[in-house]
């Protein structure tokens, strides 16, 4: 690709039964980077990945992967990409080794090289010990890593990862993240879709936010945070029952409206005069005898970014009103 982009999509459109899944979606991914595609359920992430990986035909717009038009030259695109779909697509019956050998043969490496490549990848993804175990017995994290290994057989120049850590426990998630970092160090371009803000923040050097089939922002993680602007005071309490009192105090002291994360027992609100506000909140809470677990200042998270951009939240987080009612 002439301008240093491994993936470029312009005005992608895809309709399912008249309802748009992609509605003028734009994307540009620079070579050799991890690019995050961040959006809530049903935003169109999988649809975008399936179009770019030639699985689904587009209804409108244009897309190039590794410099090749996906609609006109799908076969050549397929020889240059790896795909790890939203659900680990490996053969449950075969062993890890048999899976990689099979995919190697189907990638046209021939039997001998397919076997050699399988050994190499099993080692690289830390699966050697489980190589001859049926995949049905693998943990979620191992399965994902095998899935990643299968996507890496041809050392693709572009790798699509559709929610690679959804449904994994924190340890397995960390393992997958390590694998992705290693891949990028090897020169692969990665397009990673995720609903986890933390994941995009940790792995991606650039993030496209997608909502209802459209890209609504494209920036660095820090750039997106600056978009929201300002720091926040954050209070974490030990007991759920304390939340309403904290909300009241924070609302009184801070300029912005407080938000409650009931799951994390956390209340936060934007402030301008950072230290003064923090001291004031801390003092008032102490005066009122509220048991505080943690209090501090933090930079806005991508979750805040999403709320600012779309007007709705990414996950099932409660609003302040719901928290007060609970």
């Amino acid at each position: 690709m002439s301008d240093g982009h491994a993936v470029r999509a312009e005005g992608l459109e895809k309709r399912y039964g008249g309802k748009p899944a992609l509605d003028g979606f734009d994307l540009a991914v620079r070579e050799g980077t991890v690019h995050g595609l961040l959006g809530p359920n049903g935003a169109g992430k999988t649809t975008a990945v399936r179009i770019l990986s030639t699985l689904v035909k587009l209804d409108g717009g244009r897309a190039e992967v590794a410099g090749l038009d996906v609609a006109r030259r799908p076969r050549e695109v397929r020889a240059r990409i790896g795909l790890t779909g939203q659900y680990a697509a490996v053969d449950e019956v075969l062993t890890g080794r048999q899976n990689l050998e099979m995919f190697g043969r189907l990638f046209h490496l021939g039997g001998r090289r397919a076997r050699a490549r399988a050994v190499e990848l099993l080692d690289r993804f830390d699966l050697t010990a489980a190589a001859d175990l049926g995949v049905g017995k693998y943990s979620g994290g191992m399965r994902r890593r095998l899935d990643l290994a299968a996507s890496m057989i041809l050392a693709p120049s572009v790798l699509f990862l559709d929610e690679p850590t959804t449904g994994l426990d924190p340890r397995s998630r960390g393992e997958v993240w390590d694998s992705v970092r290693a891949l990028v160090a090897g020169g692969t371009t990665v397009l990673l879709t995720t609903q986890y803000l933390e994941e995009a923040d940790r792995l991606a050097s650039r993030i496209t936010v997608i909502d209802q089939g459209r890209s609504i922002a494209d920036d660095t993680p820090d750039g997106l945070k600056d978009l929201v602007g300002g720091d926040r005071v954050e209070v974490v309490v030990a007991e759920r029952a304390e939340l309403p009192r904290v909300v009241k105090v924070v609302a009184r002291v801070c300029e912005g409206e407080p938000e409650t994360d009931e799951e994390a027992l956390r209340v936060h609100a934007p402030v301008t005069d950072r230290v003064a506000a923090l001291t004031e909140v801390a003092r008032t809470l102490q005066d009122e005898g509220v048991a505080v677990e943690d209090i501090g200042l933090r930079r806005p998270s991508l979750d805040d970014v999403f709320l600012r951009l779309t007007g709705h939240r990414t996950g099932a987080r409660t609003t302040e009103k719901e928290a007060a009612a609970a």
């Binding site: 699985l55 053969d91 449950e92 075969l94 099979m102 490496l109 041809l154 050392a155």
Partner: protein
């Protein structure tokens, strides 16, 4: 390891070569499945054996064949046909597993020939059908069934596989149509009456008129009647047009089924990219 690493550069060959090679590799995968799941082999081969034994001994003495003749000579070819007929459920089950688990999507995202996905399934299932037929025939012979050998025997074997071939397309079509593996299991409830209303267990003349007519026109009846003829045990045949032309229709029905369901299966497969 870069993209130029020679170990990761695919070999250059023609399209037909890769279609055959990809198909071969998927057959190899299918056979590895059997190797890794011996229980499935036992079930898949055990069911036909059990059927032959059960129906042979349980019904054997009580059933009559119109026009005289040995019920065993009537029943055994019917059992072979039944096993071929139920085969489409195996095909559908394997296809629905691959499509719901995303394995078919992975194949489609690779530079392999996507028609090999279907072709590989078909060849694997035909190989399994050969094994099923062979083991059923051995069991039947152990029970005293004595077909003619020679070309007739091979012809009957071929017609049975020909029926199974046509049913691959119904299997693939249904496998891509049903939403999950559980639903594929439910196909048995549909297949069972469809195989019973035929000439595989009972001659159509012994059924009520209308039912006998339906049974005689059931495609699998023609294969059963043709097989009885070719095995040298032509018992229980009727004299309606369809029954007098069993050989012709044992060739013709699968052609018709293929002509209908192959395009449907292909269309369903292409619809995956919609």
């Amino acid at each position: 390891m870069s993209a130029l690493d020679p170990t990761t550069v695919p070999r250059e060959r023609g399209r037909l070569y890769w279609l055959l090679a990809d198909c071969g590799n998927l057959v190899r995968r299918g056979l590895l499945h059997y190797q890794r799941q011996p229980v499935n082999i036992a079930w898949q081969l055990g069911f036909p054996i059990l059927s032959v034994l059960l129906y042979g001994y349980v019904f054997g003495s009580a059933m009559k064949v119109p026009g005289g003749g040995d019920y065993q000579d009537f029943l055994m070819p019917g059992m072979f046909v039944m096993t071929m007929a139920f085969g489409f459920i195996n095909t559908a089950t394997l296809v629905v597993h691959d499509s719901t688990k995303g394995v078919i999507d992975r194949f489609r995202s690779m530079p392999m020939a996507s028609s090999a996905v279907v072709a590989g399934r078909g060849v694997t299932d035909l190989l399994a059908a050969c094994a099923e037929l062979a083991i059923m025939m051995l069991t039947a012979m152990a029970m005293g069934w004595r077909p003619d050998g020679g070309w007739g025997f091979l012809g009957a074997f071929g017609l049975l596989l020909w029926l199974r071939f046509a049913l691959i397309w119904i299997g693939v079509w249904l496998g891509l149509l049903v939403p999950n593996p559980e639903a594929a299991g439910g196909l048995f409830a549909v297949a069972f009456p469809l195989t019973m209303i035929s000439s595989i267990f009972v001659a159509p003349q012994l059924m009520p008129d209308w039912l006998g007519w339906v049974a005689a026109w059931n495609p699998i009846s023609s294969t059963a009647a043709a097989a009885r003829e070719l095995f040298g045990t032509p018992v229980g045949g009727g004299d309606s047009w369809i029954e007098r032309h069993a050989l012709l229709m044992a060739v013709g029905w699968p052609v018709i089924l293929t002509a209908v369901f192959l395009p449907l299966a292909v269309r369903r497969f292409q619809r995956l990219s919609r």
